[in-house]
């Protein structure tokens, strides 16, 4: 039996605890795109900067302590990375949220916007992946 789902569930609960702490402590929604976007232009920049430091720093420390380096299996195709990065950056700011803001924080609040956004980006991701992997065979 593949234990990945147990790691998924435990990691998910940690993510949810982070989101719950940010909400109950600072009264803010933990959305990665909103926090990073707000770092560029927006209020409470110091708080967002510190959040990003924790988000980057904790995996840095953990990965150093792990016996094997975690793998990202990320493509090395620069064109693909730039196009995908631009799409994710533009899309999450137009939609005002991503997997954490609309997904985790929105769905748990039964927000119509969060639920619809999540359904749309999962559907769009599945269509694009099917097209580029099984149709064109490029990813």
């Amino acid at each position: 039996m593949n234990p990945d789902w147990i790691w998924g569930l435990c990691g998910g609960i940690l993510i949810g605890c982070g989101a719950a702490l940010y909400l109950l402590g600072n009264g803010r929604i933990m959305g990665a795109s909103g926090i990073l976007g707000g770092l560029i232009d927006g209020p409470a920049r110091r708080e967002k900067l510190v959040f990003v430091l924790g988000l980057i720093g904790m995996p840095l420390i953990m990965s150093r302590l792990m016996s094997e380096q975690p793998q990202t299996h990320l493509t090395e195709n620069l064109g693909l990375l730039v196009v995908a990065g631009l799409l994710v950056g533009i899309g999450t700011r137009l939609a005002n949220g991503c997997t954490s803001g609309h997904g985790v924080c929105g769905i748990s609040r039964f927000s119509l916007r969060g639920i619809v956004a999540t359904l749309i980006y999962i559907a769009a991701g599945a269509v694009v992946l099917a097209l580029f992997r099984h149709g064109l065979g490029v990813i």
Binding site: G37, P59, L74, G85, F132
Partner: protein, 143 residues
Amino acid sequence: MRLLIAFISGALFGAGLLLSGMTDTQKVQGWLDIFGAWDPTLAFVMGGAILPMLVAWRMTKTRQPLTGGTFPAPARPKLDRGLILGSILFGAGWGLVGLCPGPAMAALSYGGTSSAVFLVAMAAGMRLAPGLRAQLDRAANPA
């Protein structure tokens, strides 16, 4: 105090993303790959993350944020063009490489050049978004 809370929240988020496997693009693309070797892990991550948040949202009804201020007002139940078009674009980019904003930051320290390139492109996209939004609004409501 606000800064400490923000730091711990970010650290929990990062730890959860790494442990859950969500900084591994193979697992994320596996979730989206309904015609291939489908991987359900992301559903467990999302479900696990929603559990504490269900409790947290309930608690917001009877108390105030620890550090003062107010909780975010309920979002208008309004679906606009930005939400729909933005989610389509985001999903397309997510499907192409398997990274969304949280994992893109969490994986920065071990994702090599590729993850840095993605992060820079994503930040550039975020900078371009307000201009595009203004154009979108103008197209929707011509003066």
